[in-house]
Amino acid sequence: MPTSHTVAHYESQTFDVQKFRKDFPIMNQQVHGKPLVYLDNAATTQKPLSVIETENRYYREYNANIHRGVHLLSQQATKAYEDARVKVQKFLNASQPSEIIYTRGATEGINLVAQTWGRKNVQAGDEILISAMEHHSNIVPWQMLCEEKGAKLQVIPINDAGELLMDEFKKLVTAKTKLVAVTHVSNALGTINPVVEIIQYAHSKGVLVLIDGAQSVPHVKVDVQVLDCDFYVFSGHKIYAPTGIGVLYGKLKHLETMPPYQGGGDMIASVTFHKTIYAKPPHKFEAGTPHIAGVIGMGAALDYVSAIGLDRIAAHEHELLVYGTKVLSQFKEVRFIGTASEKAGVISFTLGEIHPHDIGTILDKQGVAIRAGHHCAQPVMERFDIPATARASFGLYNVKEEIDVLAQAIQKTLEVFA
C-alpha cells in the first residue's frame, strides 16, 4: 500500500495538464490581445474536441429522429442516444439505465421533480427543506410548488464559513417534511456539503432527498447507490458537455409512480382520444424530440472525463484551490466568501470596496474571465451582507500560471481604484 503522500506525488506527476489543454480548441486564443485565462468554470466549462466532433459527426453522418424510424440512420441515432444513457448510468453508478432521464439541465430536472412528484405528494401544511446556499434553481421551483399547495419552504442556515448547520438541519426535519432538496457543492461558496449524512438522517425520518449536483459532478466522484439519494440532477455543460442537456437520476420506484412531466410524442405507449397509456420510465418523462446531439455529446464528455479519472481531476483542482487561496491571501483587500473546510475549486471573494462588476471588467481586459455578480444565489449574498462577489472557478485544464495572471490582474484593479 502506498502512503497518501506517494499517491499525491504520483498523481501530480501524471496529470499532464498541458496535454489536456490541447484537447480544448477554445483555449488557444487571445482576448483583448492577452492569452485567455478561463476561470469561469462554475458557470460553464469549455468543450474538448472529442465532444465537438461527436456532435458534429451526428449531424454530418447520422442525423435522424429516434425511437420511431425503421431506416438505418434512425437506428444509428437511437443506438447512440440510448448508449449515452448507459454511459450516464455507469457514470453515476445508477442501478439501471431507466433511472436516467434526460433534461435540459439541472434546472429542468428540479422543476420536473417539483411538478410531478411534488404536485402528487405535497399537500397543504407540508414542508420542503432546502438550504441557505441554494442556487435560485433549487429555490424557485419549490417556492412555486409551496405557493400552489399551501406548503411551507424551510431553510437550513449556514455559518460564517458557508457550512450547513447540521444541528439546525436535524431540528428542521419534522413530521411535516416531505422532501430535503440541497446542493452537493455550492456554486457561490464552493462548500462541499455532507450529503451522505443528510440523506441518512432524512431517510431515518422517512423523508426523500433530492441532491443538486450541478456543481459536483465535474469535480467529485458521485455514486448514487452509495449516496442512496432519491433524486440527483446535473447539467451537461458544466462537465465539458454541450449546453441544453442534463440529467435527472431518480430511483425507479419513485419514477414509476410519478405522473408524466410534459405530454406529447415519445412518452406514450398508446393514444386514443379516450385515453392515453403512458410509456414506462425513462421515456414517460421525455416527451417530444429531445436534444439528440446534446445527449450523444454528453456521452462523449463523460467518456473524456472518465478516461482522465474524476479522482485525478479533483486532486488537480484541489491543488489549484490551495494555490489560488494562498496567492490571493497576499492581498489584504481580499475577503474570501466561503471558507468551508471541505471546498471544491471555487474562490469567491470581494476586493475592498471595489464592486465585483468593476473587478470583472478590469480582469477581462487582462484576458481573465471570471464571474462577477450574485451567482443566482441572492440569499447567499444577503447572508454575507454583500451585493455580489467576484468568483474564480477551476476546471481540469487550468494551471497555476493562470492563477498568477489572476493575481497580477487583481493588482492592476487595485491600482486603478487606488
Partner: protein
C-alpha cells in the same frame, strides 16, 4: 492602466469616490427606485421640481459599481437647474451615446461625454444608464421599481 482609461477615466473615478448630491432629500416631491439585477446596483433618486418644471434640486442614494455610482453623481450635477424637457432630451442623448447608436457624443452633454467609452463595454451599459432610467421614472412618479432587466429599462 491605459487598457482601462477609456472606461475608468479620472473624472469617473473621482465621482465614484466622492459622489455629489448623495443622500436622502426630505423635501423631494418626486422620487423613484432603480435596480440592476445583473450586478445588484440599487439606487433611489429624489427630485424637487417647481411649478415651471425646473429641477430645483436632485439627490440620489444607493450602492453599486463605479460606473453606476459615477453616472448617478454626474447626472445630478448636470441636471440641477434644468427644465424637465431638457432632462428628457439629455436622457435620450445619453442613452443613445452609451448604446453606441450615434457616432459622436452630443456637445450639450458636456462632462457626461466621459461615459462615451461605455459603448465599448456592452455588459456595462446598464450600469451607466440605471440612474437615468430611474430619473425618468421619478419625473413621471412611477411607483414600480425600475429594473434594467424587466423590459422597462432593458438595453437589449
Amino acid at each position: 492602466m491605459s487598457d482601462f482609461s477609456d472606461l475608468y477615466q479620472d473624472l469617473i473615478l473621482d465621482h465614484q469616490k466622492n459622489p455629489r448630491n448623495f443622500g436622502e432629500m426630505p423635501e423631494a416631491n418626486h422620487h423613484a427606485d432603480g435596480y440592476n439585477p445583473l450586478c445588484g446596483d440599487k439606487l433611489t433618486l429624489y427630485l424637487k421640481l417647481d411649478d415651471q418644471g425646473t429641477i430645483q434640486d436632485i439627490h440620489f442614494k444607493g450602492s453599486g459599481c463605479a460606473i453606476s455610482k459615477a453616472s448617478a453623481s454626474m447626472m445630478t450635477v448636470a441636471l440641477k437647474g434644468k427644465k424637465t424637457v431638457e432632462a428628457e432630451k439629455m436622457f435620450h442623448e445619453f442613452h443613445d451615446m452609451v448604446m453606441g447608436k450615434i457616432d459622436k457624443a452630443p456637445e450639450d452633454l458636456g462632462k457626461l461625454k466621459v461615459f462615451e467609452g461605455v459603448k465599448e463595454y456592452p455588459a456595462r451599459v446598464k450600469c451607466a444608464s440605471l440612474a437615468w432610467h430611474t430619473m425618468e421614472a421619478a419625473l413621471h412618479n412611477e411607483k414600480d421599481v425600475v429594473s434594467t432587466d424587466d423590459g422597462k429599462g432593458s438595453e437589449a
